[in-house]
Symmetry: C2
Subunit: 322 residues, 2 copies
């Protein structure tokens, strides 16, 4: 029980982060068991268990911050609009497009990041309830996200849209924006990628180095994707792993959040250099000891610090572009 | 033989980086042997062996780039001045102060970083030959670096000095600038910290996570410092581990270079957040699969990319301050 954490590691973390890592289950199973546990028939159970935990956190956040939730259907896709009690002055004409995470198989538009962004940045958030795998396979969710984005960009200045995504939502938003760009649709004014699944082929230094140190076992997440989402698609295809796509210099300024324990540290780092090489304004933020998703812990010091830095990046971009 | 490198990790690295890691010795010894191998009587041998390898690289760099080397004594301290054949137009009134690495016990002012900086940024470099441990212990080298810096700042606009350091040189430059600031000496215009030893207490996520994956075993470096440099000083003292110091908002804009394999990834990351919280302009650059010192490999793609990003940061700072 508990992820590895020695004294040298503990002293650099908040007390709550230490407690989180010590309480996190350390799962180490043979590959055939990961495959068994993540096959399509198991997903309903995984999803229900995950959502039961999230529901409590989400409802508490809604209450604490007095958020208003409203369901829309945009371009045929369900969208949850989350509005804070008071929109910040510098966010009056800004809207966030949020794509939640959950390995393509779980999670909802009411995810923590959508709620925290609305509450803490004081900005309206449109969060997409795309169809989940295994019922919907690659690339359906990408096209749903694209349809919503196109509808939003058609009725407002796209530069006042901020794209926000978490984990697998990073794959969706990056893949969707590739198509939008090819379709000559104007791109958002800024992009936030919390621990993005920009490469789902399994490449990277951190997937090996942080396996067993992060909250999700690497090979379990690969088995989950392969059996439920990919539907035989090639993970090295740039439409599947957008890290391999070409980025135009006009791609939105992008801030990427990760941590030293994150399985997706390499995904984050590699994407940073790729965007930088393309001439895109980008910032990589790395939390000491930060695991996959430390950023969406509402009260964790490390999470709050990360989100504050992300909001600062977004506000600076919105200010230079207004 | 060779540091751990699986297929998923290899595909994200340059061919030369893969070869480097596969050829690097993987040393795993019991602690008493690390202590034995790093006691003061062994240092002369370590130093000679290290320098024999470096001499070849350094001489090749001098020849390749046509660098001119001149020895000065500044405030009683030997300084090596390295001048490129042609100084860049935007660097005409800029001078780099370089503090080399080598765990306080080895290395010279003619280190790769001094030479590469002079050649690639096309700027004059003043590199300090501070006294090494165990002959000179904490805090002598700090005071030597301070004396040179004060002499330089006395005869020119300090904002046109760029501090550059590698590894243990990061401890020296950060500790030295703390004293300079307390002494009301103007601070440099920019600071470059290649994989800085900002905390030599052994704290951090990466010292454990990257132990056995990086080029130096963590416990060997701790034994080396403790037996040769510290002389009983408390590693948690902010004058010893400058990560624990307070930074003024007027501290120089700082760029920090590290990598996902670097033992000092956590040192780098933590310092970034510390400076940011103090209101200091700072940038953290993380190379995928980058080990401690990948940045000073002259021909390695990952090293060249890192140095180019560092130079870009420095040039931008010099441009805004001229």
């Amino acid at each position: 029980m508990g992820l590895p954490l020695d004294e040298n590691q503990a002293v650099t973390l908040s007390t709550a982060a230490q407690a989180f890592l010590r309480a996190a289950p350390a799962i180490r199973l043979p590959q055939f068991l990961y495959r068994f546990l993540t096959r399509p028939a198991k997903v309903a159970g995984i999803r229900a268990q995950f959502q039961a935990g999230e529901d409590k956190v989400e409802e508490a956040l809604i209450k604490q911050h007095g958020l208003r939730l409203e369901r829309l259907v945009v371009a045929g896709v369900p969208v949850l609009v989350i509005t804070p009690p008071r929109v910040a002055d510098d966010m009056r004409d800004v809207v966030v497009l949020n794509i939640h995470g959950g390995g393509f198989v779980m999670g909802t538009a009411r995810d923590r990041t959508a709620l925290l962004t609305a509450a803490e940045m004081r900005v309206p958030v449109w969060s997409i309830d795309y169809d989940l795998a295994p019922e919907a396979k690659f690339p359906l969710a990408i096209h749903q996200c694209l349809a919503v984005y196109k509808a939003m960009a058609a009725t407002r200045d796209a530069r006042r849209i901020v794209g926000v995504s978490s984990s697998s939502g990073g794959q969706l938003i990056l893949a969707m924006l590739q198509i939008a760009h090819a379709d000559l649709v104007a791109l958002p004014g800024a992009l936030v990628l919390y621990t993005p699944a920009s490469d789902i082929s399994g490449a990277g230094d951190s997937v090996r180095a942080n396996d067993g140190r992060d909250v999700v076992p690497f090979r379990m997440s690969l088995a989950l994707l392969e059996q439920n989402y990919l539907d035989g698609a090639d993970p090295l295809d740039p439409r599947v792993s957008p890290l391999y796509a070409d980025y135009p210099a006009t791609f939105p300024p992008t801030v990427i959040s990760t941590g030293t324990r994150d399985l997706l540290l390499s995904n984050s780092t590699r994407l940073y250099w790729k965007l930088r090489a393309a001439g895109v304004t980008s910032e990589l933020l790395v939390t000491e000891g930060g695991w996959h998703g430390h950023n969406w812990e509402p009260e964790l010091d490390e999470g709050k610090r990360m989100r504050a830095a992300v909001y600062e990046f977004v506000r600076a971009q919105m200010a230079t572009r207004s």
